[in-house]
């Protein structure tokens, strides 16, 4: 029943009564039971999935039907659902139960979506492989010796392994798009401010955005439409009419920053990228080379801004208000001991890095300088998007790498080279599966990334659906 099902197809079948939300939920629970021991996509499968599905069936019976009524969705472990455990895959939040619903969760609850479980991730969303989870790595369903990407690796693997019909992730520097690419699913990071961050455990607040991972572009649009919208509890949330005066024409031209794509990308990944571009050209798009001279600084800017914001955000985990708490003689000792036991190595590394770039004597040379270069990158991107309707880049320079292969921090950071720029600039971007490349006998998915102007998600969906048609 559930093989090759999409949200769109399931909606039709649920509404016609061909199967119930309970049948659907049981189908995915069965898959999880059989395969998740190997994949480890979930930190917890909720024990009330069947009850949630029964409630959705009642809604369908009463014809109180929304696009996601009865649809099983996995939730990344940094998004709060009131009364349920949430840990950001960190020991420091072990045993913590959320005090309130994230805005995206309230919206999904209103639609009657079924939350299937908490998806594994890199601790506090810091990483590109889920290897930094305090609760074990998630395996890539296409080759279990490889990573699923990260930080939303559990969400991506859950969709790819047929454990659910869609998932929520969060994207601070590519954490939705990169795992989507590595697992062969669609991942969307929308315009900064379109989806509320209220109830998302913060990493880099000026960069974080919640986004969907799905099997198709159409499904990503359905979840995005369900979770977007102004929320007074997120001060950076955009008013619903923010882009209503901007007219976006049907996309015709796609720009490619060729000079930026020359170094460090696997040969067959670039070939795959070029083939996808050729197909788009055949389907009537005009492909142009464009200069984006400041783009080469994006990764360095990101690895200053993000740790600065993360070290500030993570100061709240002190053993006083929630989660783990170790005893000490003084408050200072409680903080330091709790944070020593609770935080993993990558989190500690980024806190120290963030503390350094914000420290007196270095804040001008690092944080303030990075902030001004960030503005230049944004001006660059805005200028480019005046001349073309979209920008294309690979999502990741390589397909899924082996578990344990990237053991130096810098080699892991360079995996983010093509994804971080839109988090710095706030533009929307999508990763769409564009075929596979072969590594040691495994066919590994490759993602094609499209970027558009602020507020123009529609063009991402138009071009993305064109790529899906092949």
């Amino acid at each position: 029943m559930i093989e090759n099902l999409t949200i769109e197809k399931a909606r039709v079948s649920l509404d016609k009564g061909e199967f119930s939300a309970l049948d659907l939920a049981r189908g995915y629970l069965e898959n999880i039971k059989n395969k998740d021991g190997e994949i480890n996509a979930f930190l917890e499968v909720f024990d009330d999935v069947e009850e949630q599905a029964k409630r959705a069936d009642k809604m369908i019976e009463k014809r109180d039907i929304h696009p996601l009524t009865g649809i099983p969705i996995a939730i990344k472990d940094n998004i709060l659902i009131k009364g349920r455990n949430v840990s950001a895959a960190s020991k420091i939040l072990e045993g913590y139960k959320a005090s309130y619903d994230a805005d995206v969760i309230s919206k999904l609850k209103q639609q009657g979506a079924v939350f299937i479980g908490r998806a594994n991730m890199d601790e506090f969303a810091m990483g590109g492989s889920t290897e930094n989870s305090a609760f074990g790595v998630t395996k890539n369903p296409h080759d279990i010796s490889r990573v699923p990407g990260g930080s939303s690796g559990g969400s991506a693997a859950a969709v790819a392994a047929e454990f659910c019909l869609g998932a929520l992730g969060s994207d601070t520097g590519g954490s939705v798009r990169q795992p989507a690419a590595l697992c062969g699913v669609v991942g969307l990071k929308s315009t900064y401010g379109t989806v509320s961050r209220s109830g998302l455990i913060a990493m880099g607040s000026s960069l974080d955005q919640i986004g969907p991972l799905t099997k198709t572009v159409g499904d990503a649009k359905i979840i995005f439409d369900a979770i977007k919208g102004y929320d007074k509890k997120d001060s950076t949330s955009l008013p619903n009419d923010f882009f209503s005066d901007t007219k976006f024409p049907k996309p015709k031209t796609i720009g490619v920053p060729r000079n930026f794509l020359e170094k460090g990308v696997d040969k067959d990944v670039i070939e795959n990228f070029n083939e996808t571009l050729e197909n788009l050209e055949k389907n009537g798009f005009e492909i142009k080379d464009i200069p984006l001279p400041k783009l080469e600084y994006a990764l360095a800017v990101y690895y200053i801004i993000m740790p600065a914001e993360a070290s500030t955000n993570l100061a709240r985990f002190d053993g006083i208000r929630y989660g783990l708490s170790l005893d000490g003689e003084t408050n200072d000792e409680v903080y330091s001991k709790t944070r020593r036991v609770g935080f993993g190595t990558e989190v500690r590394r980024r806190i120290l890095l963030g503390t350094f770039v914000l420290s007196s004597g270095y804040v001008d040379a690092y944080y303030r300088k990075a902030d001004s270069v960030r503005n230049s990158i944004r001006e660059d991107m805005d200028a480019a998007l005046h001349n073309v309707d979209a920008i294309a880049m690979p999502t990741s320079p390589t397909p899924a790498f082996k578990i344990g292969e990237k053991n130096e921090p810098l080699s892991m950071y360079t995996a983010d080279i093509f994804t971080v720029s839109v988090n710095l600039t706030g533009n929307p971007a999508i990763s769409v599966p564009s075929g596979t490349v072969e590594r040691e006998g495994s066919n590994l998915p490759v993602g094609f990334q499209i970027i558009t102007a602020h507020g123009n998600e529609d063009a991402l969906f138009t071009i993305g659906e064109d790529i899906e048609k092949g």
Binding site: T345, L353, A370
Partner: protein
């Protein structure tokens, strides 16, 4: 960035983070390496401080709060140590003996 410019123990103290000796040794190599990489922004030229059109005023009146106490129990439930309706912490000020 030179290794001797980065004092891991001082940073750890500022960040309220206990670090072991092995970690100090590890981070003393890694953090300057990462800083050398991000140093490339120095070649990016002047940068831009033009933020005028990019920021919206999101101030609001400080009024109409929610009813007092409706979230108190939920938030106290999350705290490791409580006493009555308060979160309990170690003594902050000590009497001189």
């Amino acid at each position: 960035m030179k290794k001797e410019d980065v004092n891991i123990k001082t940073l750890a103290r500022l960040a309220r983070l206990n670090v072991t000796d092995e970690e100090v040794a590890q981070f003393e190599n890694e953090i300057p390496e990462i800083l050398s990489f991000v140093d490339s922004i120095k070649k990016a030229g002047e940068g831009s401080n033009n933020k005028i059109s990019k920021h919206r005023n999101i101030m609001r009146e400080d009024k109409d709060p929610h009813e007092s106490g409706i979230h108190t129990d939920d938030l106290l439930d999350a705290a490791p140590k409580t006493e009555g309706k308060r979160i309990k912490v170690k003594q902050v000020i000590k009497r001189e003996s």
